[in-house]
Symmetry: C2
Subunit: 223 residues, 2 copies
DNA sequence: CCTTTGCATTTTGCATTCATTATTCAGATT
DNA sequence: AATCTGAATAATGAATGCAAAATGCAAAGG
């Protein structure tokens, strides 16, 4: 028998969840924005039923806030939420790193090294966008190697919740250098397959990320 | 002004999410059971619209599986899922323990000691149900003291996903003693405010819990 | 006897409709 | 002028209706 790929069947609600997540992620819908159902219905050409199902799912994920009879808003992230979420993300990355060390092949490590080198090159060149892309790829690769799908999914969902903040403010050069240094140390721990060192660095790295977000939030309040 | 409590206003969908979660948790709806919309609608006296919204939310939480045009089933937990979820829960408990050590007052510790002592007493008496209740309370109390709401919510959601398994099989006496011993060591680390020791014990404790679930799953396959 | 095919029934996906609750804004009141 | 009132408007919550898909089952064929 020819192994044909399964025909993918998706509900409108599922499709809408992904589209809306995308809009929030790329900043088309910004934290605090009101979500008006008829508006989005027209935009996507669907009725309110599947849209409302999608909104309920996004609310469960924490991406939007629903208040009864008053509609939905894209969730704002508070400094308190940052303080809660980043340590969690730190633990998840630490676990991913640990699993990664236990499972990675020489080829995996080589790939990470390559991604890292390219990322550093973009940093030296001051190219923000490709740096960010490579940065994300490194983290994704670590989760892939870790081989724990639930872990990756959980991390991803927390990442999106905090990501909404990030496109708003740019890192300072010092913070950027700090992040690169964190990554150097992450790579060193991976090379040495030193799980406990990696654990510490990952959590410190996320602590730094939280600091950056705090600075960004403060900047928004002031400016 | 008299500070009247806010009038709680909830949508039917929200109510249904909680009711259904309850049904799954207490085993009224068991893993693998088919969920027929009209049936539940009649049971709860609501129309399909809010019920479907609730099902979408539960699916997002991983409590049920939805396949397009084929309806919903209560999610089964596979050995692979256990292998993925328990290390994550271990990390979350480890973080909670760490935060707990940093924040707990003498009164907090005393409360934990009291709960622990009662739990051990029930173990000695072989009283399973109250032991389980106290066990849960100890863990909840640690999360409460930790003071990270997002962490507690995340842990709770993973706990429910794995809880469906537990009412099915009973711990062996050896496993039960092992769990009690873990708790003794957890209390010792809390007393000493030794974060790194607590970290290790928490993760080991969850490793043991995963083993118990694996044994339960195997038992189901065999018997 | 087992498998396959076609039809009746059930169930799901989505649109539409109706009722209830917010929001807006013109006009009245202090 | 600022605030309050309330009707008009718009948005949300939930039920109903309808078309498409899946399921179950009986009869036909191997």
């Amino acid at each position: 028998m020819h192994d044909s790929p399964l025909i993918e069947r998706r509900s409108l609600a599922t499709e809408l969840v992904e589209r809306l997540r995308g809009l929030i992620q790329e900043g088309q819908l910004r934290p605090g924005d009101k979500i008006v159902e008829p508006e989005l219905c027209e935009r996507f050409g669907v009725s309110r039923t599947p849209l409302r199902e999608a909104l309920k799912v996004l609310a469960a994920e924490g991406l939007i806030d629903l208040s009864p009879n008053r509609g939905a808003r894209v969730a704002r992230i508070s400094p308190e939420a940052v303080e809660e979420l980043f340590p969690i993300m730190g633990m998840l990355e630490a676990l991913a790193g640990e699993l990664c060390i236990g499972r990675m092949s020489a080829a995996d490590l080589a790939l990470l090294e390559a991604l890292h080198a390219r990322m550093v090159a973009h940093w030296r060149a001051g190219e923000w966008a490709p740096y960010g892309r490579l940065n994300r790829q490194v983290h994704e690769e670590i989760f892939r190697i870790a081989g724990n799908g639930a872990l990756a999914a959980l991390y991803q969902s927390l990442l999106i919740r905090t990501h909404a903040i990030r496109f708003m403010a740019r890192k300072t050069p010092e913070r950027w250098a700090e992040a690169v240094d964190d990554h150097e140390r992450i790579m060193a721990a991976l090379r040495a397959r030193d799980a406990s060192a990696l654990n510490l660095i990952m959590r410190e790295h996320l602590r730094h990320k939280a600091d950056v977000v705090h600075e960004a939030l403060k900047q928004l309040d002031d400016g």
